[in-house]
Symmetry: D2
Subunit: 343 residues, 4 copies
């Protein structure tokens, strides 16, 4: 079938790729309708690796997708052929310890799209377990559906932060992940969110939402700003979504005594943390790796109108333009949040 | 000073009442501008007692209030004369065990307005610790400020429910408390709220809010309705705000396996609970008694626009009409949520 | 194979029962060496039903067991033929929602030994998923191993109570479950446990352990006693293991403000609960249904010496004496905690 | 009164120091009977400062103490003259936000013994709020009572770790704090504790306790050892009590996926943390700063026999030998855990 294949570092082809998938009794086959480009996709494209995950063979990219069910296994009851669904891209080994402990995302053998050596889903169709597919409500587009994957990450961050209703959140980083984190934190119980970045165009997109205060920390001191907005107490929760170690120690000093910092961004360099500051302020650090059980919640928030992801889809390409789309995404336009491919 | 005095059961007078309060260094004196009528006020008025709390001497009523600071103690730094504030009506004994444990609301010696033998605040002015007073933002009225007390209860219920972002809540009872609980649950992270009652007029008021589904259980089976709205799983959290033991066992059967029921309503009659149902469904019961640290959060939600309490203020009287206001409240009009007195 | 079969109410036979089980790749076959008699076994024997679970066909009894692996599936890596293991008797449907949520015990389709129509394991051998089998350490007997099932329940209760180190626990009921709950609460972080019952013989068995204070509430007022032992504050956590609704409201009044009550005992009659008492004391109720991920912890506590289950095995029968053993168990001897059958 | 005074860096005198303390209604006056030497005392003695806390005036040292009540305020009801008590050394400002939030230890204005400019308690007597004094049970010595302060820290660490009954803990560092952390983790619910250090003498003292496995990481690889002891899963909780950044990243790799690391040790140098490792393993970091509400729990554990602190008191001096005691403590003998001064 036709697929976007990463042949080797920096080399993509949109070509026929021989792949045959058997439909199990609990599976569905989905014709892909939309697939977003994630930072990790771009990373594999430009670098060929993320940490220990190294692309050694040609690999189909893409893991943020939505599509239409074209075939279903005999034991699938909650979905029908013709349903538009979004998909959770990781499938754990159900024999893993972590599954019974409620941490299926931590199974080290999880099979996750577009993580070598596992193929992604930017192709004509894909077979997937039905229980990791989520029906989209009437009126929601496939492109919005493809946004459920990053939004599921945002909701996981909000979940890990254990928001107390009315909390004020600080989010560092206003790219796709920072933006969905901000929206999830608001929908998930915060009264307002302060979001920081150094790229003004990105800040303007997320700053246009109600109750989001976008701050360019090129010109404003983050700690001072947060303190002013919080009566000198600091943010109840802080969520790091920039991946830059430079936000430390400011993020610690901007967080309220007894508060929580959630680490979403992945920095390759070690983050130097001053333990006495963490300790005297009574802070804790939660970390995030993908998600568990948040896709249905992402869909519910969009259906309710509490979250609108459409303003974050800033550029749309066709399947035939996939290589161009990746090139565009790799250029890192400051006014671009999510680059979407529609099939 | 002029005050609304409950002289004895069924007998109110609006009269001068000799009361002199000294202003301590951490106190403020507040001229009352608005005071709502709570179910407990009406209960003391009509019955003279709630459980062990018995009105034996004339007592000033009222504990849901907002007003203007007219004098401040020398050590008060975060408030100024002229500020419009709402007030948390209970002041714990700071020597109590429960204070250091973070449960100041459970101090058995807490001094709480209009709980015999402690006078309420439906009077010209009152002295109160500054730390239990919360400045209202620009544009918020005193009547809205007086709504912060019930809303603080709603937020406490949402807090106790430990909402996971995107939860669906069931709220039983659509009076003032059920209504603020519903709004707090939505602002506090739920994607939608199903609220039930048997009074259609009340349901229409709260049902007019976004993402609130109001159900008259005179004509609809609650368990069936909730199951249909939740893909057969049940409400993630259920909050009982009707005070009627009759909602059991339906509320248990309408709650998702592993979910939480928060008991806000106070039923005088024991509630017969089937333990096997609770156990097999893996439910837990949280209880609510007033609030801790939620007034600032109530104010923040109103300031952000995430909660609008104005539609719940369905009837306003002047201070001179106080007795009439209480009579009206005691009649229990189905189209009335909150009766407010403005001074 | 030879098995203890409940033919119909009150009728047991120890006979050959045709049962053939295929060994899957992740399974082991276990020769049973010891099997305890649980209250539920006796209940099916004498009444033929527990709630909706009705014995309609002959059913093999027994679910508290340990045995020796005699065959293993090809994918089993952590166990070997010859290993002595205990077994978690419930196997969830891994497709259930509740599994991915970490609540596999709440799957309504869970297959649990000796719960109609599922056969139990009081028979020569049984096939079971290896991941629900737990290797016993050197020196631990099969009879002790069979005690891991009730102890796993005790540990689940301790887990649900969320013990803060040094808590004082109240446990109501000193049968097998109350006793293992008491031991699990102590090993799990309590500084002492007060356990109550009306049967003096049972109290003497559990009261012989260090830091267990056994109280006969036939002659002592429970609330007064607990208050005296806790400086007037009440038990930090209370665990109900008697199944008698009569312990209410005393158990609520004996629990510290802000504390937790865990409901382990299953009362068929509804328990009348006074909500104002629960609310004013700020109590919460957790419920228990079986266990998740506690068998390895039960084994670890016995291996460490922190829990000794041997004094609770008060009567041992051979497999050939199984019918006699059940008759003995059904008689309810006050000096008997666990009746064990060794094969 | 006679007191051990830090005159300036490296200069101690045991001399009369003029200090007059008024007894308030909720206070007691305590004749000090024993006072341990803490690492922070030694640090002020040798360096004159810890971070921002700088000794500018002569300051009395000591904050780990027990003594006999010699006078009590009129409102003190739970203590009597003659009672032997231990004391929690920090007194928060009850007006602080953090108090009502249950985080009184995070009040930045807390008055804490022997933290400049506040005097310590290594002197004849001291006045202290009764609610921060805890009566010692019959048979417990003043020296044991003085150990309640470090043990309270150990219990706070166990509390922050939120132990699930049966957890296996890793504790890095076997000094006083590491040792009490290990004992608190065991008493607080762990089945066993692996403790590491590079000083063999210290390891032998703590390794002599039941269920403590002491490992010298000079000769053993910590990660390998922990994996072998935990069936390849890692420690459920890890508590860092060495203050050395060198334990990272090993401590992360030795912690079970989904586990918790509690940071107790205070390293002056920033700790370089690899976020991807934390994230992929799903770890969270809790931090510890002193304690809240743990002294009564420390006393209860010693009273119950679940914790024995006597083996940790490795060297005792008289009050007259105080300067010698400090010199000895400052030398850092590898076979010394706690140096105690008896008055």
């Amino acid at each position: 079938m036709k697929a976007l294949v990463l042949e080797s570092v920096n080399t993509l082809s949109l070509r026929d790729y021989p792949i045959e998938e058997t439909l199990g009794p609990y599976d569905v086959r989905i014709a892909i309708n939309a697939c977003g480009i994630c930072g990790s996709d771009v990373h594999y494209y430009k670098e060929g690796a993320i940490g220990d995950f190294i692309v050694k063979e040609p690999m189909i990219l893409g893991h943020e997708a939505a599509g239409t069910i074209i075939e279903k296994g005999e034991k699938v009851t909650h979905l029908e052929v013709g349903d538009l669904v979004c998909m959770e891209p990781g499938v754990p080994n159900m024999q893993a310890h972590e599954v019974l402990e409620g941490n299926y995302h931590l199974d080290k053998d999880i099979v996750f799209w577009a993580t070598p050596p596992v193929h992604g889903c930017l192709r004509e169709n894909v077979v997937h377990p039905a229980r990791f597919c989520f029906k989209l409500p009437e009126g929601m587009s496939a492109a919005e559906g493809a946004m459920m994957e990053p939004l599921a990450t945002g909701i996981e961050a909000a979940k890990k932060a254990r928001i107390t209703p009315g909390d004020i959140a600080l989010v560092t980083g206003a790219g796709t992940i920072g933006s969905v984190v901000a929206l999830a934190a608001l929908a998930g119980g915060c009264s307002k969110v302060i979001i920081t970045d150094v790229k003004q165009e990105k800040l303007e997109i997320i700053g246009a939402y109600d109750n989001v205060i976008a701050v360019n920390i090129n010109s404003v001191n983050m700690v001072d700003f947060v303190m002013k907005e919080t009566d000198g107490l600091g943010a109840d929760i802080s969520i790091e979504a920039s991946g830059s170690p430079k936000v430390f120690p400011d993020i610690m000093n901007a967080t309220r005594r007894g508060g929580t910092i959630v680490m979403v961004g992945m920095s390759n360099d070690p983050v130097p943390i001053s333990m006495p500051v963490l300790q005297v302020r009574g802070l804790k650090i939660e970390t995030l790796f993908r998600y568990t059980n948040t896709f249905d919640r992402a869909v519910a928030f969009v259906e309710s109108g509490k979250i609108d992801v459409k303003p974050l889809i800033t550029k749309i390409f066709t399947f035939d333009q996939s290589i161009e789309a990746y090139a565009y995404a790799a250029e890192g336009h400051p006014d671009t949040i999510k680059v979407m491919i529609e099939l």
